[in-house]
Symmetry: C2
């Protein structure tokens, strides 16, 4: 928010060609051409350093129209033709105005990988009108040095007021049969392992990728979600995503695998409609990030830059959080969220918990939570998450229940006031948990009381969850109504000075720039899946290229015991990661909200390794991606916001790998001590995950480190300034 | 709530027959037989004084099942068969228990036609089980002296926990091709004129009856709504309705017009599902009210008796209301709800009303409202309704808008604080208006603030409206979700000590016994339709037999100027009623909430007639229906709750009629003066509606009055005790 330059008019970046408009990035690497086809279809294409990124691709919309309000039966042919004309917002356009401008500003995020972000783009706003229906829209393009963003704008106008989207038709024509890292297109969940394949192979691999989930809805055998990461055979890294998803359905992509053209596929509501708009309205931005250097993609801040500046004036109450929790024991099945086995169904306010027999496995009890508060206080953690503290868990899952929780009534063995006082005395917070079970009307009915309860009892952060199909039934997790709900809950939380970490919600799209109290989402396959059968060992080498582009993920790393049978003899899952890989995640999975997710006992078994987790900060002044290859490895160095210390993390895929890391990011002339946490010589994510070694070294900016990562391994380094 | 007798076990009313169960009314006039068919289908039939009312009819449900959570495709035939078995809750039952009992209690409603209501029935509860699926339910029958009520109960049980209703199949097999007074079955509105026809004629008359509405959805050419009034060729009056509609979809009836069998047809949600239940659960009651005397039907309190007693402990804040309003001028088109013509679309919080040019027709302005407050105070009215006081009316209608109102932001020319103080100083209340436009999520999001705003500004009653299709889209006004919403708004209003009058909501089903702050609904074709083209002149001779059976209607009578061109030259509607008929409505359309709906000026033109409206009370100690014939006439006498005065009203259909009214309901030995407001000799609803004459007479309990009602006319009498 400090310096910015705003230059209007034709600049060197902008050339007006007879049949089209050209837009270049500030450094000239990207060139976009926009024109209308002979049928008046808006068309764009994108090149990077002379190579095709997007081949000529069309833009536009199909609207839903019915002249007769209650039916689609036409009184006569002319009405049917008129309806067709009104439905078409894809062709028959002409350009009536173009405006170009340049923007260059640096702003400071409240939390982040870096303390300053530069927002520099050349912009082209094309106003097109459709004479047949006398309607118009603006397509606004912003070209950054890391790629292109564009959105549609419907200005206030006579013939477009309230309208319904049948489908958005934004195309992204690929220049080759790229390798893609994809998850199935789905209206309800992103919790899939990634599949790496050529675009042409997606169809054949779809069913295998589409594994079961508590709530899921695929739409096409070539449908995929964004952010979509790809690599071309000529070494280009290409990423498709969206930014600023507000009051609009989430976009997936459907591939025409004959022509290798992706097209936007929005999430419908119960009626199959895709969005209800009132002009004036701006859609989210569609983004194409590209580079010949993978590090540029993973470091891109375009998604944030395309969002509005913060709407929260006083952000002093928004703070990064390092936490532990009463959680992993339930995820692994050792303990239960539920208090009793007496009730197979629950009616809140009627089921009498005071008289119910405790099942002896209920983890969220006062005594146990105090143990976690003690451990957090002793080890420098800010907070303790507690799940299963409130009435209703006995039948919360899989019943599509409406009045499932009230968010304020604790179980008999969870003493709210006592724990509030105890936590306060130890300088630790408790993180509230609001599992909604997807029943969003129920959540909204209780929201003010739930947030007030938090304020009254010392909670300032909430993990919310949306496990299961949405109620009202027929909406999906990514429908416009539900996207609107997440935003409603987020903005209301800001009124109460509450930070939000929303699980199973729509994947973030940079909205945290505008609402920085959104300190996390899950919205991808997280660590819990390691206890649900395991994730692919290279999963964490893909997520930073996909899920993390729109915002941080509450990945909840830090598992030290990979053999889940040791947590629960009935759970044969294995965490497909070395212990050191788990340490590295605190660097490679950037998040202002970081959990040390394992149970206390497992940390006590490895105090030397645990030291890294205690030391690693959760807020950064600067970050440098040192090496990156989606699906294979990622190495990043970050500087603590509050000291001169640096931290480095590497996560590795399935192939053991050695690398040389130059420490030239350190400050010249300063002396540092590096503590290197590395995989043991025989470490392997499956057969020998807990083998590690720790060594210290004196280093300077001139040093180079030779490091080896095991299969599914990595390394983690803390570099402290020494006087 | 005073005396009640509860007798368990076999009484003289109950006979256990080998193949079935018999249940009689306390006076023995009704006899119901329940049995299982040879296929194990629950079957009942009903006789009255030896004549068939309901021929053998089946009961039961179809559930929605899918073994594979995400699809209806079965892995093998046995799964498909199992699904069929699970879906069937119609046959294959056996009786495993029967319990009989008698109940006799008198309770006092907070407001009503009478001050005491007797609740006397014989009850049969049959528990039936379906051995193939090991599931059971109870069908509970209650036989009153005015008919039968029955409901289904799903007790807590192992094999029925959370389930989805595909359809309820409650049959009502008619014994003949009765004459019916019906409106089209519809998921969204009841605002139709009634059609009187034989059952066999419904199909042919349906399209003509199905006139346009802002929100409507028919489902069958032989679908009708309840309460359904019928008359058999052998002089029986038969009425079908439901009671205690809570958290369930509203029931319409679909006629098999070949066999003259009605069957329940529930209102679906966006997915076509009919209801989501969790055992234990009781459905609403289905009621069959019958008599050979039409007066018994219109006087029946069965619907109330089948509801739970009041859940509101302190009801001192619930008071009947007589009111006028800033409303009719907008309905007729003389004035506008909207403040300005500057905005064709509105974005609340963005559209700047302070800068907008007033359109000069906005009726809800401070000055004008004060005129109404003055008139109310001078004429003994309790309150003034004001519509159009708040931002958002410029685009509220027909746009299916979500964030349409915030319920707390007034227009620039409506001074909330000033009007609050002014009304208070005059001893008058203002009735709040919450038009939701059917956007129920938006209403719920604002509900607490809206109710608090009412408390803060002296409002204790709200007229709510649901004009237009429901948002979230796909639900209907009578879907389970939306029925649940009306109940939510009502119960929350009780927390704030607010009375509710809900328009366009589901028609009431006696819930006001449990929640007496529900002082009114519209939920039928009200007086406003007289300004939208007019209603049939005998409309008000049918409504007491249909709409009013479940609760009072805010019919808003009292129109003195029938020629709407005089209100608005562009509106050629005519009120199809004589002026005296309008007076009589205060008697025949019982409601604790009564509006004198016309504009002040029209009352000032006829002060002698207006005197009746000033005199007529809105709460009653006793009521006697003197004569009644659906579609033709209704005459009722009511005793003021707070004095010894009686009032009599008659509404007449299209045929002029003379009648003799005995005043034997008056107290013997007392002297009274009757003021008789009668149609003039040449009065006619169309050609001469404003012709009336007023005369006074001394009367006693021995008196008889000869009275003549014009076409679409009636008479109104106030009978005051004289010393």
């Amino acid at each position: 928010m400090k310096n910015f330059k705003f230059i209007l008019g034709l600049g060197i970046a902008m050339m007006n060609i007879a049949y089209g408009q050209e837009l270049k990035s500030p450094n000239g690497d990207f060139v976009m051409d926009f024109s209308l086809s002979k049928d008046g279809q808006p068309t764009y294409q994108l090149n990077y350093k002379g190579k095709e990124i997007i081949k000529p691709s069309h833009l536009g919309f199909e609207f839903k129209t019915n002249l007769n309000q209650k039916s689609f039966e036409w009184n006569d042919k002319s009405e049917a033709d008129k309806a067709k004309d009104l439905a078409n917002f894809l062709s028959g356009f002409k350009i009536i105005d173009t405006k170009t401008s340049t923007f260059d500003e640096t702003w400071a995020p409240v939390w982040g990988e870096v303390s300053k972000i530069r927002n520099n783009f050349n912009e082209l706003a094309v106003t097109i009108s459709q004479p047949k229906t006398d309607r118009k829209m603006i397509i606004r393009f912003r070209m950054f040095n890391d790629g292109l963003g564009f959105r549609y704008e419907f200005p206030e106008q006579k013939n477009l007021k309230y309208f319904v989207i049948k489908e958005e038709h934004s195309q992204f024509a690929m220049a080759g049969d790229h390798t893609a890292f994809w998850i199935p297109g789905d209206y309800d969940t992103q919790e899939y392992d990634y599949t790496e394949s050529k675009l042409s192979e997606i169809r054949g691999l779809f069913d295998k990728a589409y594994i079961g989930n508590a709530s899921q809805k695929a739409f096409s055998k070539t449908g995929v979600q964004t952010a979509l990461m790809m690599k071309s055979s000529n070494g280009l890294y290409i990423n498709l995503h969206e930014a600023a998803l507000i009051n609009y359905p989430a976009m997936s992509l459907n591939l025409d695998d004959k022509n290798l053209v992706f097209e936007s596929w929005l999430t419908p509501d119960a009626l199959g409609d895709k969005g209800y708009l009132q002009a004036p309205f701006n859609t989210p931005w569609r983004t194409v990030i590209a580079s010949d250097d993978a590090r540029d993609v993973v470091a891109s801040k375009m998604t944030y830059n395309l969002n509005e500046p913060s709407k929260i004036k006083d952000t002093s109450w928004i703070k990064p959080v390092k936490y532990i929790g009463v959680w992993w024991e339930m995820i692994t099945g050792r303990g239960s969220w539920a208090y009793t086995d007496d009730f197979s169904t629950v009616e809140l306010g009627v089921s009498n918990y005071a008289k119910a027999k405790p099942n002896g496995k209920h983890a969220a009890n006062t005594k146990h939570v105090k143990e976690y508060i003690d451990f957090a206080a002793e080890n420098g953690f800010d907070a303790v998450l507690v799940e299963g503290w409130n009435e209703g868990w006995e039948d919360w899952f899989g019943n599509h229940k409406d009045y499932v929780f009230d968010f304020v009534t604790p179980y008999p063995d969870f003493d709210v006031k006592e724990l509030h006082a105890y936590a306060k005395s130890k300088g630790v917070k408790i993180v509230m948990h609001h599992e909604t079970s997807g029943a969003i009307r129920n959540y909204e009915r209780h929201l003010d009381k739930a947030y007030q309860f938090m304020q009254d009892n010392g909670y300032n952060a909430v993990k919310s969850g949306y496990v299961g199909d949405i109620v009202p039934r027929g909406d999906y997790h990514y429908s416009q109504n539900v996207v609107n709900h997440y935003q409603y809950a987020l903005e209301k939380a800001a009124e109460y000075k509450i930070m939000v970490n929303a699980h199973e919600a729509v994947r973030p799209t940079g909205v945290a720039r505008t609402w920085p109290n959104l300190i996390g989402n899950e919205s991808a396959r997280g660590t819990e899946y390691q206890a649900f059968g395991g994730s692919k060992p290279n999963h964490v080498t893909i997520l930073p290229f996909t899920r993390l582009l729109g915002g941080p993920m509450d990945y909840t790393p830090g598992i030290f015991e990979m053999d889940i049978k040791k947590m629960n003899p009935n759970n044969e899952s294995h965490v497909n990661s070395t212990l050191v890989n788990q340490l590295a995640l605190y660097l490679t999975m950037y998040s202002p909200l970081q959990m040390a997710a394992d149970i206390i006992e497992n940390y006590k078994r490895f105090p030397d390794a645990f030291q890294f987790i205690k030391d690693v900060p959760v807020d950064w002044q600067d970050s440098k991606y040192l090496e990156a290859e989606p699906g294979k490895y990622l190495t990043v160095a970050r500087k603590d916001k509050n000291s001169n210390n640096w931290f480095v993390g590497n996560v590795n895929g399935v192939t053991p790998r050695t690398t040389k890391i130059k420490l030239d990011f350190l400050e010249k002339g300063k002396k540092y001590e590096a503590t290197i946490y590395a995989d043991g010589k025989d470490a392997h994510y499956k057969t020998n995950p807990q083998s590690y070694k720790i060594e210290t070294k004196k280093v300077t900016a001139k040093s180079t480190l030779d490091l080896t990562s095991a299969a599914g391994g990595g390394f983690a380094i803390s570099i402290k300034e020494v006087k």
